[in-house]
Amino acid sequence: MTNKILDVLAGIRPEFDFSASSDYIADGMLDSIDVITLVSDLDKEFSICIEGVDILPENFRNLDAIRELLRKYGADK
């Protein structure tokens, strides 16, 4: 799952190393529009439908947060 997430992130902002940051938002690696793009790409990559109420910056702050969100939607099964 981790590699897939990193691939998705790299597809959105290829100029950054997402494995080296613990806060993509604070570090300026993802802005609000990027988060929307990330949701759309994760939906497709993991065949899930992340609900709008979960589209909050804190759910996409780092790899741990994204993994936890994806588990909520059964993406690890």
Partner: protein, 355 residues
């Protein structure tokens, strides 16, 4: 707040769009972002074309164009208008009310009621609610509800968060009484503690415009805007809509005792395609029952998007027949409102261009 209205009917509606059409692909270079990211944004949000006024065109100009069309075509008689309710966030002046400007320019009768309401993306619902209440008075038989905004004039052309989706437009909705009409259910909520989510910080009496308020500065995401410009906290607005709208619609249908599957169309305010499709997913409503194509064709014109969505997507169905519709508006204030009603057959449903 739950509301119910009896013997009320939307008789017809007209949308007025500026003929000046701009394309997102031609504007991408004015934003400080790589072209590839802008293209991604276009695909996801549905940004493509938007209609904005060309030059110093005001709300009353769009409204007068619409009324003159209705008068000259014989669709509406001047003296039949007993009240004119204008909903706008971009009035011609602080004073007088722009509804009075429209009344004067059209030469409407003196024996009538004119009022302005400062509302935005929920403005079609707020305006309908006001129109329905005015019709409680026996002297008022027909209300002309005007929704109009020219907010492109208050959006920074260097702001990727707002400018590509802004649209200018006006709509005229004629509301009257009908003995046969089924009850119209509505609900409404407001939360002024979240008022900063959509705001033009300067230009009012709190922070008058001056040399400093027109200087554009970069925000954390690289958008350039001044305090005289529209500011939209996209994340806050997105979350607000996703949290508040689905339970509002569920509560409306429960109050009205109407099954979701019996609704023919969910016609909501049109912020962008992604937001609407996420709402449809959450509410388990098929995309074909919830139009989301107004931003890509015309831009987001605040309170005009619902009547525009009706005219653009459902014209034939509401001219020739009747459908059960849920309307939903949400935005500045913050304000959110929905309405369940039977729509049609309308006397007219048109889209025209300005000038």
């Amino acid at each position: 707040m739950n509301l119910v209205f009896g013997q009320r009917r939307i008789e017809g509606l007209l949308a007025v769009l500026p003929s000046n059409e701009r394309r997102f692909i031609d504007e991408m270079e004015q934003f400080d972002f790589p072209i590839e990211r802008s293209i991604k944004l276009k695909e996801m949000m549905g940004y493509d074309k938007h209609r904005i006024v060309d030059g110093p065109v005001c709300v009353s100009d769009l409204a007068v164009r619409g009324f003159e069309h209705l008068f000259t075509s014989g669709t509406l008689q001047k003296d039949d208008i007993d009240a004119l309710v204008l909903v706008t966030q971009s009035p011609d002046y602080f004073m007088p009310p722009t509804s009075s400007v429209i009344q004067g320019r059209l030469g409407l009768k003196h024996d009538m009621f004119c009022m302005d309401i400062n509302q935005g993306c929920a403005g079609f619902l707020i305006g309908l609610i006001q129109a329905f209440m005015l019709l409680d008075q026996p002297a008022i038989r027909k209300v002309a509800l005007v929704n109009a905004d020219v907010l492109s004039r208050k959006a920074s052309s260097r702001d990727r968060n707002s400018y590509p989706l802004i649209g200018d437009a006006a709509s005229i909705t004629i509301v009257g009484r009908s003995q046969d009409a089924t009850p119209i259910h509505a609900n409404l909520k407001m939360d002024g503690t979240r008022r900063d989510a959509l705001i033009i910080p300067a230009g009012g009496f709190r922070e008058p415009s001056g040399p400093a308020t027109c200087i554009r500065e970069a925000d954390a995401e690289g958008n350039l805007r001044a305090r005289d410009d529209l500011v939209m906290n996209g994340s806050a607005v997105f979350n607000f809509v996703q949290v508040e709208v689905p339970p509002m619609i569920a509560a409306l249908l429960e109050t009205a005792q109407v099954d979701k599957d019996a609704v023919d169309a969910f016609v909501f305010h049109q912020p962008n395609r992604f937001m609407l499709q996420k709402l449809a997913d959450k509410m388990k409503v098929p995309y074909e029952k919830m139009p989301s194509n107004i931003v890509e064709h015309f831009g987001n014109s605040s309170g005009v998007t619902i009547p525009l969505a009706l005219a653009f997507n459902l014209r034939d169905r509401i001219l020739g027949g009747t459908l059960t519709a849920v309307l939903g508006g949400f935005g500045v204030g913050l304000t959110w409102s929905s309405m369940l009603l039977r729509l049609g057959p309308l006397d007219f449903c048109e889209m025209i261009e300005y000038p």
